[in-house]
Structures are given as structure tokens and as C-alpha cells.
Amino acid sequence: MFGKLTKIFLLVLLSVSIGNAEEGNWRIVNYWSEWCAPCRIEIPMFNSLSEELADKNISIVGVNFDEDPREITLEIAEELGVSFPTLTMAQVGELALRPPDVMPTTYILTPENEVVTKLIGMQKKEDILKELVKLGIEN
């Protein structure tokens, strides 16, 4: 019983810490799905970009488009090699984004969670960097 409660507490703590870490950051929100080939192709690019932007107040986070239960979502993220954080459905709900019509879709959000860019379809690193430059948050 104690073990289970501890596990739940740690999961909640992790969720809160992900939220806090992103506070004040611009966010790149990437919707992915396991069955979406273009998603699988662009994930390594987002992994690499995530590391590059880590010290620039720009976070990359992912959303499992299929809304699988959390445990399954994390399993799929691991299988796909997603190394950036995957949001919980509650966190996705807080963003109040309209679910995309096309997979993959990537949003760029201000620190106030305002959508300033919607990128539909598979992206290249230069596409994302170009958008960040356009928004004045990256040189």
C-alpha cells in the first residue's frame, strides 16, 4: 500500500516538476503518433533540437495524438525514441489547443500559452529555426 502511494506521489511530483521547468519558457508542442510515418521521421530532429534549445528558454514537449492511457503513451514514446517530455492529457487540456487535423502538427506557444505558429506536416530543423528567428526568440 505504502509503495503504491509513494509511486503515485512520485508521478505527481514529476508532473509538477515538468510544469515548473517549462514555466516562463516558449514551448514547441509536437503532436506525434505511433502509426504516423512522418512523425517517426521527424522525432530524432526534435530530440536533437530539444538539446540545442535547452539553455535558451525554449522547451520542446510532445503530445500523443492517440490519447492512449499514460502508461501506454510513455511506453510508445520510449519505443519511438522520444527524448523530450510527453505531456499528460491534463497538461494538454490546459493548453486548450484544437486537436490537429493533420499528423504531425507542431505548435509554437508563447510563455503565456498563446499559439503564435502552427506548422502542419513533417518539419525540418531549419523550418523550426526559421520560425523561431521570425518570432525573434532565436538568432
Binding site: 502509426w35 510515418a37 512522418p38 492517440d66 486537436p99 487535423d101 493533420v102 499528423m103
Partner: protein, 403 residues
């Protein structure tokens, strides 16, 4: 406002309304929609309702217990559904909200398909089918309907009952995606199987199509018609049609040049229905990030199509279905996402494409878990199945009578 101006305004409005220029959607009057007690258990989803020419109605679904997926069906007997029968089950199936098992019925014969992972830890899966020939006691042993032997994606199948108890399968076939550097092209293929599952014919219909949208097929007076989301060299992903006429497949043709250019998957395939020479095709598009459900009609088995009629725009996420009633009227199903809860909608059109009415069938959800509503016509009725995810996921079914 002066009295004469007010009178003029009222006359003006009356003239417009009487000419049908102001569409006034109404909800169906109570009593015309019947909600059945669902034969599907809790934790069921991925339903389809299907009928044969004689009007027998079947509902299929997938129920899950842990990793085990069970494909079941029930037949409507009067106003009650029969006890569920299991077609197949497995713990290595690819179970997905957009690409899921299907049952086809054809003069006492049945064919069923599901998707089974072909290699562990990948996204590769095969289409397996089983056949229940009229008079047989059991479903046949499952067989893979494609013979490429390549571990790749195969799915988004449509099934079309043909003459002599045979069934045409149309599917997305990823065999070429594994033959090229990077990710190759998804193809569209079709095959005809007899009532016992022997393959009579197989064709590649299009060498480059969108990767993850449903296909749909129907039988016109001139032969089978297939609709699907195409993919041009420069990533235009509009709806195309291909037909089998006089023993040959026509070249793919766009239903309408929406020019929706996307390097991605909409997961929102078109739907076609046919009754002799009358054909109705509905599809979703979102060019310029403007979601839209459109309908095109044909009175010559698909030789030509009308300009698109906009069924819904802006507040829709598509997930379309079509049905042609015996009266010649056309029903299009789609999802309305105006409110926080999505609504399953049916729009009724005259044979000429005039909007007659809109009906709210049920509250749903824009969530992927709610899946795709499916409609099927019998006479002047339409059966609708969907997944209710308001509490535990469960398949629901209703009937609307258009008299």
C-alpha cells in the same frame, strides 16, 4: 423602423425562406430516432454497422481485456440484437482508433478482417481475413490477404460485396515503403476473393497515396468505384476516385482540386455510396487550415461529379460517412466540434444536392478514442454506430427513419 419598411423586410425574408435560400437546420422530431440497447459490452469500441441486400443488419466491434482484443458481432433480430458471436481474437493485433476490423455480409456469406502485427516492436502489420461461406459451420482459418511477405504497414481496408458471394478488398499497402531509402511510397491495392477466401484477382490501383486515411468502395451500375486520399509528387493530398469498368481500372482522378498541400497524415478518409448510377462521395479537407466536409454527386456511375457542396465548415473534424436511401436522398455523417463535446451529425440532402435537414445523433468527443461513427442504409432508414466514451468505452447504435 417604418411599418412599410418592416412589411417589406418580412416579405423579403419570407421569399428567401420559401426559396430555400436560407437553410434552417432542424433537429429530428422525437420518436424518429431509436436508440438500441447495445449488444456490445463495456470496454468495446471500433464498431461498424453493416447490412446486406436483403436488409439484414449486423453490428461488429472490438472488445478488450488487457492485451487481448476480441472481434465480435451481433445481428439485429426485430428490435433486439442477437447474442454476440466471436469471429477472432488475439493479443498481437494492431488495434487503432482509425484503422480497425471490418465485417462484410453478402447473401449469407460473410468476410471479416483484422490487423495483426507482423514483427515485434515495429509498426508493421498484416491484414488477416476469415471467410464464412453460406452453409458453412465455422469461420475459415485466417489468411493474409496480401502476398508481398514484406513486414510493413497494411491496412485501412474497405470491403465491397460483389456477385456470387465474392468480396472486393481495397487496402493501403506499404510493401514499397521498405524497399527504398528512407520511407518509400504507400500504394493502393485491391483484390477479389470468393466466398471461401480464394483470391480471384489482385491489382495495384495507385503507386503513391496518402499513408493513413481510410479507403471506401461502392458498387455502381458500371462496376466498383473506390475513393481514397491521393498524394501527388508535390504533396497535394486530395480525394481521388478510381473505377473498374469493362474489366479495366480507370486512371485515378481527383474528385475536386482542393489543392490541400500537406506533408503529413490527416487520418480522415473519404466515403462513397452508390445505388445504380447514383453516386455520393463525401470527404474532409483543410486547405489553408480551414476544415471542411464536402459532398459531390454523380448521376452517371461516377463518369462525372457535381461541384462540391459544403456540408460543414470550420467547426468540424470530418470523420465522414455516406448513405443513399431508397428515396434517392443522401445522408452524410460528420462530426461537429462547435461545442466542447463533439456531436455526431447527419445531414440529409435531396438527390440533387439540396440540404433538407441536419440531425444531431449523439454527443460524442473530438477525442480519438471516440473513433469514427459509421452509417449504413436500409431502405429509407440509416443505422449509426459509434463509441460512447463518456464513462467506460462502449459501442452504441441507433436507427433514424427518413419517411
Amino acid at each position: 423602423m417604418k411599418t412599410e419598411n418592416l412589411q417589406f423586410l418580412l416579405i423579403f425574408i419570407a421569399v428567401f425562406v420559401s426559396n430555400g435560400l436560407i437553410a434552417a437546420p432542424q433537429e429530428l422530431s422525437e420518436g424518429s430516432i431509436e436508440y438500441f440497447v447495445s449488444p456490445a459490452p463495456k470496454n468495446s469500441a471500433l464498431s461498424r454497422v453493416v447490412s446486406d441486400k436483403s436488409g439484414r443488419i449486423y453490428l461488429s466491434w472490438v472488445s478488450q481485456e488487457g492485451d487481448l482484443a476480441r472481434f465480435e458481432y451481433s445481428e439485429l433480430m426485430g428490435n433486439d440484437w442477437s447474442n454476440p458471436e466471436t469471429i477472432s481474437e488475439g493479443d498481437d493485433w494492431f488495434v487503432n482508433w482509425a484503422d480497425f476490423p471490418m465485417l462484410s455480409v453478402n447473401a449469407g456469406n460473410m468476410a471479416a478482417l483484422w490487423l495483426r502485427m507482423s514483427a515485434k516492436g515495429t509498426y508493421d502489420y498484416n491484414i488477416e481475413a476469415s471467410f464464412f461461406a453460406a452453409g458453412a459451420r465455422n469461420w475459415s482459418e485466417a489468411r493474409i490477404i496480401h502476398n508481398d511477405g514484406v513486414n510493413a504497414e497494411h491496412g485501412f481496408v474497405s470491403m465491397l460485396p460483389m456477385g456470387g458471394g465474392s468480396t472486393m478488398f481495397t487496402w493501403l499497402d506499404g510493401r514499397n515503403t521498405k524497399l527504398e531509402d528512407g520511407y518509400g511510397e504507400m500504394t493502393l491495392r485491391a483484390g477479389v476473393f470468393d466466398a471461401t477466401g480464394n483470391k480471384l484477382n489482385e491489382w495495384e490501383l495507385d503507386h503513391r497515396v496518402c499513408d493513413c486515411c481510410q479507403t471506401s468502395s461502392a458498387l455502381t451500375a458500371k462496376g466498383p468505384i473506390v475513393v481514397y486520399r491521393d498524394r501527388s509528387e508535390n504533396e497535394i493530398r486530395d480525394t481521388s476516385v478510381i473505377r473498374h469498368i469493362n474489366g479495366k481500372w480507370t486512371e485515378p482522378e481527383s474528385i475536386h482540386n482542393d489543392n490541400w498541400q500537406i506533408s503529413g497524415c490527416p487520418v480522415n478518409g473519404p466515403s462513397v455510396s452508390a445505388n445504380e448510377e447514383q453516386v455520393a462521395v463525401a470527404w474532409f479537407t483543410a486547405k489553408d487550415d480551414t476544415p471542411k466536409v464536402q459532398l459531390a454527386l454523380s448521376a452517371d456511375s461516377g463518369d462525372s461529379f457535381s461541384s462540391p457542396i459544403v456540408v460543414a465548415s470550420l467547426k468540424t473534424n470530418g470523420r465522414v460517412g455516406t448513405a443513399i436511401l431508397d428515396s434517392g436522398e443522401i445522408v452524410v455523417s460528420w462530426m461537429d466540434t462547435t461545442e466542447a463535446d463533439a456531436v455526431i451529425m447527419l445531414s440529409l440532402f435531396s438527390a440533387e444536392g439540396k440540404l433538407l435537414d441536419n440531425y444531431k445523433v449523439a454527443k460524442s468527443s473530438a477525442s480519438r478514442r471516440s473513433g469514427f461513427p459509421i452509417i449504413e442504409e436500409v431502405g429509407n432508414s440509416v443505422y449509426v454506430s459509434w463509441t460512447d466514451i463518456s464513462s467506460v468505452s462502449q459501442v452504441k447504435v441507433a436507427r433514424l427513419v427518413f419517411e
